[in-house]
């Protein structure tokens, strides 16, 4: 029996997809790359982006056509808005919430698919805790994502996640630490701790679980005990809950990587109010200053939305000012588009596509300038690099620095993939480096 799983959307969905794979494979299914060869076809969907939703519809219409000629089963899970759920129910054979993943074998058995796992007594409670207990089937042998929290209570007015994933639920700390310890034992080199709001981790459990800084401290201790080299990242934190203690812990452990992703979204206080972001630029700036003091060599990444409803030129210029002032190495810049389900979906999307696009280019250009200046500071330095893959350019390999800046260097040694090497930085570009491999 074979299966094909398409995952759309963010790293959270990718991490969930790894768990779905794990359950399906434990039922005896084998993954195939060509969907035409699969008996079971699934999508980890994302309602948050219209393009992703369009892809779901395109796929399921195609698969439903195939049903005329062969027997296949289709399913959908992931980050789905209630309104999309209603239409997916009519198109897919099966739809399940990620918290119901442990019941997937039972659901499939009820659908008429026998399996080894489905012979076992199913869990009668479906809780997020039990879905987290499923060991993911990691798609890489050196890079892994570890979910620590699901859902979001922040209700930023542009975002549908609180409506698709529901309330913030933190995974038990010990489970997270155990998973990371196992990954370290298996020689994983890059581990990203994931959540919609990683730094509000534990808030929902009041005092019964660790808070985020304490969790990071314990991860740091795993690093010390293991004596192994690896990097741990976290994404995304929310500036509202970003306390100094988190940065202090990062600065105390070498395995906690020198890279902070701190979504700003807008550089204007009034737009931040309208986005319901719950921080002001002055507070954001204080965190950036703390990062610069406590983690002087850290790279800083951010997320920015341009053309949010009502954003005027002056407000957009404040975002440009913020990029210049906070000196990001990377920013994920998005042109605002209303997300069904989010509060701002009901507000007038009054910035024209042309204006959004020109703001997007203006912001990207400023980012390119700033990132280049920042990257030049690394010129002629030796950077520790985790090697990811063979580059598209023949005779080159590609990796990432601890600060997550991509770097290419000449080599023909495939064995380097998944290992750390030292690279001498010979060229700095806006979003990448080029370099020469140092002698081992």
């Amino acid at each position: 029996m074979t299966y094909f799983l398409l995952h759309l959307g963010c790293q959270m969905n990718q991490s969930d997809a790894e768990r779905v794979r794990s359950v399906i494979e434990s039922m005896g299914y084998r993954s195939v790359d060509r969907e035409e060869e699969a008996d079971l076809l699934g999508i980890m969907a994302c309602s948050v982006r219209q393009k992703a939703i369009d892809r779901v519809y395109a796929r399921i219409h195609k698969w439903n056509q195939w049903k005329k000629n062969k027997s296949i089963i289709t399913f959908v899970s992931g980050c789905i808005l209630p309104a999309d759920k209603t239409s997916f129910l009519k198109l897919f054979d099966l739809l399940f919430g990620i918290e119901d993943l442990p019941q997937l074998p039972t659901i499939l058995r009820q659908y008429g698919v026998p399996s080894q796992l489905s012979q076992t007594t199913p869990n009668d409670t479906s809780s997020t805790d039990s879905y987290w207990n499923i060991e993911p089937s990691y798609t890489s042998s050196f890079e892994a994502y570890v979910s620590i929290q699901n859902g979001c209570d922040k209700f930023c007015t542009f975002c549908a996640v609180p409506y698709t994933r529901g309330r913030e639920v933190s995974r038990p700390s010990q489970e997270i630490l155990d998973e990371i310890e196992t990954l370290v034992e298996k020689e994983y080199k890059s581990i990203t701790v994931l959540g919609q709001n990683v730094n509000s981790y534990g808030f929902d459990k009041r005092s019964s679980e660790m808070k985020f800084a304490e969790l990071l401290h314990n991860i740091g201790e795993i690093g010390v005990r293991s004596k192994k080299e690896f990097w741990v990242y976290f994404t995304s934190p929310h500036p509202h809950d970003m306390y100094k203690d988190v940065l202090e812990v990062v600065s105390s452990y070498p395995v906690l990587a020198n890279n902070i992703h701190l979504p700003i979204q807008s550089g204007d206080d009034k737009i931040l109010i309208k986005m319901n972001r719950n921080y002001r630029i002055a507070a954001y700036e204080k965190i950036v200053n703390d990062i610069r003091t406590l983690l002087p060599s850290a790279t800083l990444f951010t997320d920015i939305i341009v053309g949010f409803t009502g954003e005027n030129e002056a407000q957009f210029n404040n975002t440009l000012k913020a990029i210049r002032k906070y000196r990001y190495n990377m920013a994920y810049i998005a042109q605002y588009s209303p997300r069904p389900g989010a509060a701002s979906y009901r507000w007038e999307d009054d910035i024209t596509t042309e204006v959004k696009s020109s703001r997007f280019h203006a912001a990207t250009n400023v980012l390119k300038e700033v990132a280049l200046e920042e990257n030049k500071k690394f010129l002629n330095e030796i950077q520790r690099v985790l090697v990811y893959k063979k580059a598209r350019r023949d005779g080159f390999y590609e990796g990432k620095t601890e600060g997550r800046v991509p770097i290419q260097f000449p080599s023909d040694n495939e064995a380097l993939i998944g290992t750390f090497v030292d690279v001498h930085v010979t060229e700095a570009r806006s979003f990448s480096f080029a370099g020469e491999l140092c002698a081992p």
Partner: protein, 216 residues
Amino acid sequence: MHSYQKHTVISVRNLTDTVYVLRMTREELEFSPGQFITVGLLNNVHMREYSIYSGVKDDYLEILVKDIPQGYLSSKLHQLSPGDEVRIEGPFGYFLLSEEHLSKPLHFIATGTGISPFHCFVRSHDIDTYTLVHGVSYGHEQYEYEDYSRKNIIQCTSRDTGGNQHMRVTAYMKNKELEHNAEVFLCGNSAMIYDIFDLLTAKEKPSEHIHAEVYF
């Protein structure tokens, strides 16, 4: 994980032709004054955010809603009858009065149903150090003013002379000097919130003392 709660409608109390209070069973919902909930009909996916209007000590749960005829949910909620059930999720939000705020001069500024979290504040906390500036179109739009202390409330009316001040909230606030340690809470439409925010920051009020909840 979605954790909807079913609450039963106790009453629908009309304050004007278009503004009403929906009272529901509390169902042990714990919240902090100033928070909002999301509300929807049973068997319907559409939810909307509403500030909690009732106080933390009340044994019922209330929201103050403006019926928007061209809107989706607000007019449907208006038509509910006692005994009907609604879906509620929450509470959410950070539009809160902290212990530290309680000892400071407080300025609550609202347009329309944006008065709702302030009603919850005064019903839940024992406070008298506040002024409430409420912007509406007409003087008859006095949403249960008897629940506030009369001396603390200023109604600004833009379309008639029925309020204490026949002017927009922004015009009223322009000439007002705030105490240096005042905390300002703004709630309602974003146009008013933006104007007051500009006004206050021009007067060098630090932004961390300006709190805001935008409805639209």
